[in-house]
């Protein structure tokens, strides 16, 4: 069976499964729509959280980032897992005890202020929309390859599908669908990795394969071999390179960790379990399911990089026959050229492909002596690493089809979770909580679905004009959530004296500092040409890249909030009692409004 038919069958079957589950578990009440009725088993919830959490960025982009940034990309691995430790200990159990539907609702009640609630809604929407862009791009990339259409068309198809999918589900439908999506995506991710690890090292476990000796008879370890291959082509050494220095790495990791703990679509998952105790262990289960992918990703990235160079640099560097001839390029190369994500330009007209680092002056000198006139792989989009990986490793068609289905599962499950967070912020927090208190449950559900549609259109537009590759965009969302929501929640629980003035000032200061820094380097609302400082190292504050700035924003938030709270009156007694009450588990009921 040819690849296209196989892919249609596999992807079609998984979609039928999701739709079936979404239909079976469709939401009848707002309680089911927002928090799945609050009765999900902690392990099931952990698995759903895993799917919700592992987005197109994790599935599609992360291994690509690792492949090209080597050790430097560790910040994504640690940042996107370490946050669960914070979430499990600092937020989840307390917010579960509080027992409401949304994150802004907690902030509104804890800081006895609709103003605080509205600020939280704005922060939530900014972070979630930024995050959804990454998912849209992921959907577009996966579809464009799968249906062999332009990226834009792929994006439109993805938008339509997500729309149908997200409005049908509600949290109950989304949770059970995500469990199925987790299973699809984890098989899709690990099976090719196992094959590839076997091929290269003879060890079926990618986590061990990455630390093993190559089975090509060279006797070198895989990482040593990779270091050799990339440095010979003028790239930085794999196991030691950083993206923008060690301080940036430190701050970036911190931003992703606190952002993880501050992202509303993740936090809300812990409102769906029956007990406080379950909220704690469920975070652990979520991380187990996430760790399966996250410990595989470094192997996928490293091995893909090795395979890619081995495909192109077939012989000795500099020998006339050492490079792959363009005519002889493999089928996957042609497939990806069609999507525009892979581009070749024969700069020296020798009909062969030279792929090396032409930004490295020493390498350029060497390359000139070989008659090379610049790197000819003018575009290798990082996002294709995972999707093309099984093809590069010559794996059977069903594996490639499964990867397409897995990428779509990852993007769809996260998009659905985010859209739910956005729509519940609008329908539950803004409409029911502030502007139209008397709204009926039915009207509230309808409002939620309409706001979902609006969010998809905005995200789709931004997906067509993306501010970077998917994980880069997502990283900004983490910065925004980490700088605004995480400190407000933490202070709300751990600092009884925190009052509404402090919390509002802190959130506004934290998110403003972060956004200004991002806009200053990346353009206002990411529109190219409106940036007033170029996005490059020398312009960055202490060399910290915009994606990493959330941790600084969070520091500003904490400082401003505590200062303002100390200068203003302490919160009323009943709020201080509320804080006492959420600190102890006994008496947690179901989530209510």
């Amino acid at each position: 069976m040819d690849l296209k038919t196989m892919t249609y069958i596999v992807v079609g079957a998984t979609f039928a499964l999701y739709l079936g589950i979404a239909f079976w578990a469709r939401a009848g009440s707002t309680g089911e729509f927002y928090v799945a009725g609050g009765g999900v088993h902690p392990i099931a919830n952990g698995m759903a959280t895993g799917a919700d959490w592992m987005s197109a960025a994790s599935f599609i982009s992360m291994a690509g980032l690792i492949a090209y940034n080597g050790y430097g990309a560790s910040l994504f691995l640690m940042g996107w897992t370490g946050g669960y430790v914070l979430l499990a200990m600092l937020l989840a159990p307390y917010l579960r005890k509080f027992g409401k539907f949304t994150v802004p609702e907690f902030i509104g009640d804890r800081f006895y202020s609709n103003g605080a609630r509205i600020v939280a809604v704005i922060c939530l929407i900014l972070a979630s929309i930024t995050y959804v862009i990454g998912q849209m791009k992921g959907v577009g990339v996966a579809f464009s390859r799968f249906l062999e259409v332009e990226y834009d068309t792929g994006l439109y198809i993805g938008m339509a599908l997500v729309f149908f999918y997200a409005t049908l589900g509600g949290m109950k439908g989304i949770t059970y669908t995500q469990i199925a999506q987790y299973v699809v995506l984890i098989f899709a991710y690990t099976i090719p990795a196992i094959f590839i690890s076997m091929n290269l090292t003879g060890n079926p476990l990618p986590q061990l394969g990455l630390g093993s000796t190559m089975s090509d008879g060279s006797g070198m370890t895989l990482l040593a071999k990779l270091n050799l291959v990339v440095t010979e082509l003028g790239f930085k050494e794999y196991t030691t390179q950083t993206m923008a220095g060690r301080l940036d790495m430190f701050v970036y990791t911190m931003s992703l960790m606190i952002g993880t703990a501050g992202l509303p679509h993740v936090i809300v998952r812990f409102f769906t379990v029956p007990k406080v105790k379950d909220a704690r262990s469920s975070a652990g289960w979520a991380l187990v399911f996430i760790a399966i992918l996250y410990t595989t990703a470094p192997a996928v990235g490293a091995m893909a990089r090795l395979n890619l160079h081995a495909t192109i640099q077939t012989g000795e560097i500099g020998s006339p026959e050492g490079n792959l001839s363009y005519e002889a390029r493999p089928q996957w190369f042609k497939n990806w050229e069609k999507t525009g994500l892979l581009q070749f330009e024969d700069k020296n007209g020798d009909g062969r492909i030279q792929y090396y680092n032409d930004k490295n002056p020493e390498m350029v000198k060497k390359a000139e002596s070989f008659g090379w006139k610049g790197n000819e792989m003018v575009k290798v989009d990082r996002d294709i690493i995972v999707l093309a990986n099984p093809e590069i490793a010559k794996l059977p068609n069903w594996v490639i089809a499964l990867v397409a289905a897995g990428g779509l599962a990852a993007a769809l499950s996260t998009a659905a979770g985010l859209l739910l967070a956005i729509s519940s912020a609008i329908s539950h927090d803004l409409l029911k909580g502030v502007f139209m208190k008397g709204i009926s449950e039915k009207a509230e559900l309808r409002a939620g679905r309409i706001s979902m549609a609006g969010a998809i259109v905005v995200a789709g537009y931004l997906g067509l004009n993306p501010p970077g590759f998917a994980a880069g965009t997502v990283a900004i969302a983490f910065g925004l959530a980490g700088a605004s929501i995480f400190p407000a929640l933490m202070l709300g629980i751990f600092y009884k004296r925190m009052n509404k003035e402090g919390a509002i000032a802190g959130m506004v200061a934290g998110i403003s500092v972060t956004m200004l820094y991002v806009f200053q380097h990346k353009g206002i609302l990411f529109i190219k040409g409106t940036e007033f400082l170029g996005d490059m190292g020398p312009n960055w504050f202490l060399g910290i890249q915009p994606n990493a700035f959330g941790a600084i924003g969070a520091l500003v938030n904490f400082a401003v909030a505590i200062m303002v709270a100390k200068m203003t009156t302490e919160p009323p007694q009943h709020i201080q009692d509320l804080v006492e009450s959420i600190r102890t588990p006994r008496g947690a009921g179901g989530a209510t409004h």
């Binding site: 050790y71 370490g82 669960y84 040593a224 060690r246 990791t253 911190m254 704690r280 009692d577 006492e580």
Partner: protein, 87 residues
């Protein structure tokens, strides 16, 4: 809103004590071993892995998982000791 029974302060102190322990380990394995000390640790090999690199891309994640379950178990014990557990 029911108040915690009697030992509220002691319970909270025990909770914060546990949090501090876990957060120190969390920080040391990731920011410490994985980032700050990575160049030093890389001179030690763990199989084919330089040790600092291993902490950054594998080890810290395994330890995070263990930390959460450790926290959940210890916290359950603290809840029972101070009689604030559920059901």
């Amino acid at each position: 809103m029911e108040k915690p029974q009697g030992s509220g302060d002691a319970y909270w102190r025990a909770t914060l004590g546990l949090l501090t322990t876990v957060l120190i380990i969390w920080f040391v394995v990731s920011f410490g071993f994985g980032i700050i000390l990575q160049p030093m640790l890389d001179s030690i090999m763990l199989g084919g892995y330089p040790l600092g690199f291993w902490f950054a891309q594998q080890g810290s994640i395994y330890i995070f998982v263990a930390l959460i379950f450790f926290y959940a178990a210890r916290m359950g014990q603290i809840d029972r000791d101070h009689d604030v557990h559920e059901d």
